[in-house]
């Protein structure tokens, strides 16, 4: 079951993206995030399951994220992204309801130009699909700062290379606060605030998209 968001791609709009829920049969929560028509990131979530004694936490669920690149073995970059994703998910999942359990989220990168924001969106949809109790939703938005100083949302791979700086934000659904921020390249403080404001605006589109894809799923039955 797929939901497609047809947003005209332009300078300050997001490229068309879509999402498929329920593609894999075994995981408890699964989502595929597609950029245009190319599948970008596949997410599978297992949990809450029994945790290994060495890893279990007495008061909340132990969340683990595994990010697999398209080619090669996971390296230092994947580990650092796993940490970002894990702490973002930990901030929204109500782990206190499932102590001494483990929640595992596995993300497989399918396309070459996969941005961290695709992983974030796929992770959030997988969390929704699995029915885990969440305090808020989040979405990932990438902004690129062009050499001439303009802000470009959701850059393509080519635009990313030409950009002066790339900023990725995870925006929460309650009050549009910043859950996660990471930057590549340097920028001034005003430029960062501009990008943040643009990202918060784009977050509304993505949250509406979540709502539509979930509605299709529930109102179908």
């Amino acid at each position: 079951m797929a939901a497609v968001m047809a947003v005209e791609s332009g300078q300050s709009r997001l490229r068309p993206f879509s999402c498929e829920l329920g593609l894999l049969s075994r995981p408890d929560g699964r989502a595929t995030f597609l950029q245009g028509v190319t599948p970008s990131v596949l997410a599978g979530l297992y949990g809450p399951v029994e945790a290994k004694i060495s890893k279990e936490l007495p008061d909340r669920a132990a969340l683990e994220v595994l990010l697999r690149p398209k080619v090669g073995l996971p390296g230092v970059l994947e580990r650092s992204r796993e940490q970002l994703l894990r702490q973002t998910c930990e901030a929204v999942v109500l782990g206190a309801l499932h102590p001494r359990t483990a929640i595992t989220l596995v993300l497989q990168v399918l396309s070459d130009a996969s941005l961290l924001s695709c992983c974030l969106n796929a992770a959030c949809m997988a969390l929704l699909d699995a029915g885990l109790p969440l305090a808020a939703l989040f979405c990932g938005v990438t902004c690129a700062l062009q050499p001439d100083g303009s802000v470009l949302l959701d850059p393509t791979a080519r635009q990313e290379q030409e950009a002066r700086a790339i900023l990725t934000f995870a925006i929460g659904s309650s009050e549009r606060k910043v859950l996660m921020a990471t930057t590549k390249g340097s920028c001034s403080v005003e430029e960062m605030q501009q990008c943040l404001a643009a990202a918060q605006g784009a977050a509304d589109t993505i949250f509406q998209f979540y709502r539509d894809s979930v509605r299709r799923r529930y109102c179908k039955s």
Binding site: L97, T101, L128, A130, G131, L134, L137, S174, Y218, S221
Partner: protein
Amino acid sequence: MRRRAARRPRPWWGSGAARDLLLLPAQYDEDAEGDGCGSARAERRRGAAVRAGAAALRAGLLVTKCGLLRHRPAGGGAFWVDSQQKRYVPVKGDHVIGIVTAKAGDVFRLDVGGSEPASLSYLAFEGATKRNRPNVQVGDLIYGQFLVANKDMEPEMVCIDSSGKSSGMGIIGQDGFLFKVSLGLIRKLLAPKCEIIQELSQLYPFELVLGMNGRIWVKAKTVQQTLIIVNILEACEYMSAEQRKQALAKLSGNR
């Protein structure tokens, strides 16, 4: 048609007025407050999590799962969020099908599909005493209900109700077929006057046990009939009503 009605627990939620309000996490449930149904007491958590606990942190209720908002006006009013899920989390009072994985002294360990195995004492069967132990082997299927199920303790199951009668619970017999479906389908099947069950019962006679943990046990006269019923039930997750009627018509035509 032979159906053990005693094995089907009566659903408590009735036919919720389809209020078709889709809720996503981190939304405030304004309607519940607006109706003033004493909702702070009245919310039940059936695949739902309209959290009263969160009211301590913020004013109002916080939605924590996505799904449709349902409402039952009877008995003081109850609001809940009907969500679809595959992973079962033990809830007190739920009737489930468990698989015996180990016998540890006086207690059986059952796999119920949750994060921890549940325990079942050998005395929790109808007519069981210290001399008269139930004949339970590893690998048997047990239909029971949760006596204790919260996040801090290991879940405990029993096969008798509060008056000591088994009322359909206990060891499920030999043969038959056990398979897993999503929790939403189970709830649909357990609704009164469920179309799917009625249509299937026109097809062949069969025995059916539905566990709230997503497990279904089916037994019909022959293996082939059993497998046909299993396939139809599994496909009901994705098929619409017309497709199902078509498939059933084809099958009854083939008989």
